[in-house]
Symmetry: C2
Subunit: 690 residues, 2 copies
């Protein structure tokens, strides 16, 4: 059962797809209080209560003990105490001694989550605008609660199969020649590769839907040549549109009144990469249709995937903000600038970007009403993603395109994937990558992954290698880095052979990973889960922060500390540890339920398979289309018979179906060993231990 409670005048955000009639009265779990426009929802916590969810955020899988704020932010330097990242995912699951429940705050504005931060024994959630629908899902099983929620918000986006390949990316790829060179460096060394992301560098002066004609003179040939190498090009599209007379998008948007406007009706000007820019009002259906169709010309060049960026929207400054900053700066001249004045001085320009004032300067037309941006801030990225997705749907309604974005809220999960935002080459961000996977899955975001190796700052080769060992499992597996940082392509490092070997594991596991992804998407399940979901009675398992369940068969536990040669792992049941060095070089070690130290050299990564389960391992390949989805070695620790439901489909159309896509693999005892059967499959039971 799902209960809905309305407060104030909730807007239809588009987050949910099922209509639930609103209850009268207030929800029993919370004390509700008002303070001006704000509404506070307060609940006592016992010492053992835990809180899951909140999607894209820093810190633990258990979110207790910090203050989070849903406010989509270009937080490229996020740390342990950062409150807001790129997405706002207001779904929480409370695991309580007094009864579990899930709760979704369907609120497009700022929402603050004080989860035992101010006071260790209380969670207080505050809607800053006070207009929201609250959905409450009581239940015993955390898995069930999340499944109910996922059905409420609708099926998650499904990308083409090739998008599960390894993608190389960098802000700074400056020309066709450079891209061709990168592909050559991968292919000549047999480093697998399926995609190349191009960042803002391909555009002419950072103008959406343009190519820099001197550095990318022939996109059609480039795309064709790349595809011959089995590599897809994936360009970036930004939210802001350059103010430039004669530039088609600008002129059309201006003429039709498609950009966000100030209270006086004039266009709002904010600056992003191209400098002064205007912002399409994606909350309008006609604007979405217009912007979505702009992708068509790019699709015509053979492109099949895009990433949308800067759609919080990021604002370097506004016209008004810049003027004010100069004014304040001028006032300080000639003063003896002491402590307070000095910090103020630094903040004038340090705080000019993404300022709360600027987000109050412009308005949307949402469902026919004028709404000030800050009241619906967290919807902007979602509706840009929707514009792109609907544009592609219109272009070819049966074809899957790759689409992932930076900013999002719940609802966006139906239109595209997300990456985990602009992270840093920090070991702590490798661990954060792991922790965010189940939290995002709960909120509907299945196609996701972090910038492997880290976006800002310089990576080190051991960090990249260890991060790849986690990236092997994330649906989006992209190595991405920022201009000005150390170049991060695998072939640049002394440890490239180890890295390449780890990539073979990705391609070897691809049939299994694709199968588990699709089953999760089509069944409204989480591909990645906290151990608490699968072992609710095991208090030790419930508090584990550095291991997560992957699919129905596996648990992952990457190494995330520099110079480590192993790690501790807690097994809530007997499992088979596969210690991979490559798809062809691995050890199988049965490990009993309990605490274990496992040795893992720098080139080794573990996968834990539950006893009684097995997984199919393919030989792999250098690109997805070459992976054999019908011939497998089976790996597992079995007592007697067992089975696995392998899902597969054509990977490029939308003709997915759980019924049609499942091929069952059956394993049974055969003397000392096992024999395996599966329709149209070649199966080698050599990796099954009894």
């Amino acid at each position: 059962m799902i209960f809905r409670y309305d407060f104030g005048a909730p807007l239809d955000t588009g987050a949910v797809i099922r209509h639930i009639p609103a209850e009268k009265g207030v929800p029993g779990f919370f004390d509700v209080s008002r303070e001006g426009e704000k509404i506070r929802f307060s609940i006592a916590l016992s010492r053992d209560d835990m809180i899951f969810g909140l999607g894209q955020n820093v810190r633990g899988i258990n979110k207790r003990g910090h203050l989070y704020r849903s406010w989509n932010s270009d937080e490229f330097h996020h740390e342990e105490t950062t409150k807001s990242l790129y997405g706002s995912h207001n779904f929480l699951v409370f695991r309580r001694t007094e009864g579990n429940f899930g709760v979704f705050f369907d609120d497009p504005g700022a929402v603050e989550f004080d989860l035992g931060y101010t006071s260790a024994d209380r969670a207080v959630i505050t809607s800053e605008n006070g207009n929201l629908s609250l959905y409450i899902i009581p239940g015993d099983s955390l898995k069930e609660i999340v499944r109910s929620f996922r059905r409420l918000i609708g099926r998650s986006y499904i990308p083409p199969k090739w998008a599960f390949g390894y993608i190389q990316s960098r802000w700074g790829y400056a020309s066709e020649e450079e891209l061709r060179h990168i592909v050559h460096e991968h292919r000549s060394r047999h480093i697998p590769l399926d995609g190349l992301c191009v960042d803002i560098d391909y555009m002419e002066q950072y103008k959406d839907f343009t190519w820099n004609s001197s550095t990318f003179s022939d996109p059609v040939s480039l795309n064709r040549d790349m595809k011959e190498e089995h590599v897809r090009l994936i360009p970036i599209i930004d939210a802001g549109v350059k103010e430039e007379p004669g530039y088609e998008i600008y002129e059309e948007g201006l003429e039709r009144g498609y950009f966000c406007k100030k209270a006086d009706g004039s266009n709002f000007i904010g600056a992003v990469w191209p400098g002064r820019s205007l912002f399409p009002d994606f909350l309008r259906e006609d604007v979405r249709r217009w912007f979505g169709r702009k992708y068509h010309a790019l699709l015509d060049t053979g492109l099949e995937g895009f990433w949308n960026d800067m759609n919080e929207p990021a604002l370097f400054y506004s016209e008004e903000g810049l003027e004010e900053a100069y004014r304040q700066m001028d006032m300080t001249k000639g003063e003896n600038i002491g402590i307070d004045a000095f910090f103020g001085l630094r903040d004038i320009f340090g705080g000019i970007a993404n300022s709360p004032e600027d987000y109050r300067r412009f308005w949307h037309d949402f469902h026919g009403k004028k709404v000030r941006h800050d009241k619906v801030h967290n919807l902007y990225g979602c509706y840009m993603t929707r514009a792109a997705a609907e544009g592609m749907e219109e272009y070819d309604s049966d074809k899957r395109f790759l689409l992932f974005a930076r900013s999002s809220c719940i609802g966006a999960h139906r239109y595209g994937g997300i990456w985990q935002g602009d992270n840093t080459s920090w070991w702590s961000h490798l661990l954060m990558n792991l922790k965010m996977m189940p939290s995002l899955n709960m909120c509907g975001f299945l196609f996701t992954g972090a910038d492997i190796g880290g976006f800002s700052n310089n990576t080190t080769e051991d960090l990249l290698l260890r991060w790849l060992q986690l990236g092997v499992f994330t649906p989006l597996m992209r190595n991405h880095s920022a201009q000005g940082t150390r170049e991060q392509e695998i072939y640049r490092f002394g440890l490239q052979e180890d890295m390449k070997n780890i990539l073979t594991v990705r391609y070897g596991l691809l049939p299994y990973l694709y199968s588990e992804f699709m089953k999760a998407a089509l069944g409204d399940e989480c591909m990645f889960r906290p151990l608490a979901f699968d072992y609710p009675e095991d208090d030790l398992a419930c508090r584990i922060e550095d291991q997560v369940m992957l699919g129905d068969q596996c648990m992952i536990a990457p190494v995330y500390e520099q110079n480590a040669r192993g790690r501790y792992v807690y097994l809530p049941e007997d499992m088979l540890m596969v210690r991979f060095r490559s798809a062809e070089d691995y050890d199988l070690l049965p490990v009993k339920k309990g605490h274990h130290w496992v040795d893992l050299q720098l080139n080794e990564m573990p996968l834990f398979i539950r006893r009684g389960c097995f997984i199919p391992l393919s030989r792999g390949a250098e690109w997805v289309d070459a992976v054999d989805f019908s011939s497998f070695t089976l790996i597992g620790w079995l007592d007697d018979e067992a089975s696995y439901s392998l899902y597969d489909d054509d990977g490029c159309t939308k003709g997915w179906s759980l019924e049609a896509g499942i091929r069952r693999i059956e394993v049974s005892k055969n003397g000392d060993g096992f024999c395996a059967r599966g329709k149209e499959l070649a199966l080698d039971p050599g990796g099954l231990l009894g």
Copy 2:
């Protein structure tokens, strides 16, 4: 044996106290190369080699895998990839398959340590000025290498015994009344307390050696009343001297030419808390004598301790830098500020503080020669500490005063302690606190500790409680926080009872901790050591990053993760785990050598005592002077007889002596139990397990 090699024209930094004649030729361990002024020392690393040392720095006990730069910096927001902190401690210990050695780069300028960062298999150390003495200490035993080094650099600073008590501190204590209130809140709740640090707030307009006469009208009475409560007041002194006609320090320094000067001979003006300020040239003996004597007036009011701050020196801006920033800012007006210009704009004021240009604008008179500041930058803090220490020595040569500072280099360890710099209320900084302890000890800094609870940002009550559980063991145990952050005194939190109980453990262990500190100081040993020092043959132990040896009897392993209810611990030998809730409430659990998960609720902290050893536990008290140093419960896991050498002295004079201070406690089997003997000691063997 210690070998010295000179390069360029080394300056006498004062770091070492023994003269070692310089060798001819180059040191065998390194490839040495030059590039302009720079000298590079390069050494190949095998996959298993480890590197210890580097004192105050981020990241691991094993420093391998990062790029560090010795350049004393006011880095109040340090992260995983920060290269420079407040101190420069250029001593490294290489643990190599090809032979261990220690190396000290006695270089007062910038030195870069690329320890397997650019290339995983190579360490490259670069002296930017190329004038240095290199000391090499080959050896098998890491402990021996460090002991040799410590003898080279001389005995570590020893504070008065009361300084081992709990100290409460905050930037923001604004008046006498507030201080009296804080003491009252502690005493009335029986929360132990020995010191109160006052930050810049007590001064009149941030002027050194002044009191704000309206808020601190009667320092003598205040000091007297505090001492009646057994609390010492500990004021801050900053490096910069306010430019203000009529202000004694400014006028005297100006008249006598004691401030650092620019190339043209005029005084260098930089801004710190008071705005425009001048910087005493502490590298001159006469300036040190003058500045050191300024402490006398404060000592006359009854003060017995100080902390020196801002002595990197921190520079908010220089006259010249500010002018240039305004000029650059004005040039951007009216432009369409795109990507590059925007980041440039933010950096104009964002990069104005502590700028490399400013550190090249002023000069010192060092050993009679003019030296540009950047060439000797890392000495400044050390020589300020020395000025203060020598001033106090002159005031009363037999009395111990508390003195600790922010900035330091090796050499400063003889004059005062250091705190670990302006940290943040991050769980990762709790762990960093632990990791820095052995690294600092190797470099001579024994009296040290971090800002418990975290300086910047808001703490949470669980973070403060867990951090106190580590702080129990650090010689400097100070709770400190910044203005504008959440107030952090123990009595403000719901978990205050748990926190108070943890403090009783500090006071109960105080005789043991003081004994181990004094034995380490007088014997040139490390009180805190990596496990690699004590278990060199145990490869697992050598790589442990979250447990350290404490004294000769113990190992510590704090909980440093939010919401954790325990942690993994590796025992390199059998140990007795003491699980403390308070000095009077604890469990004793014998634990066998090997890997273990240990349960530790939020109010519980562990201490591990080596099998065959025991420690004395006192009843504790609410201040140090009330702790009974002669009556103990003995705790340990013994097979037969055992002994402990308890050091004690009067704690306030310099009449320390290992010989005179040791009282031996002898334990022997007595039927099923043990009996204990120790001259003039009352001993209860009730905590000894057989």
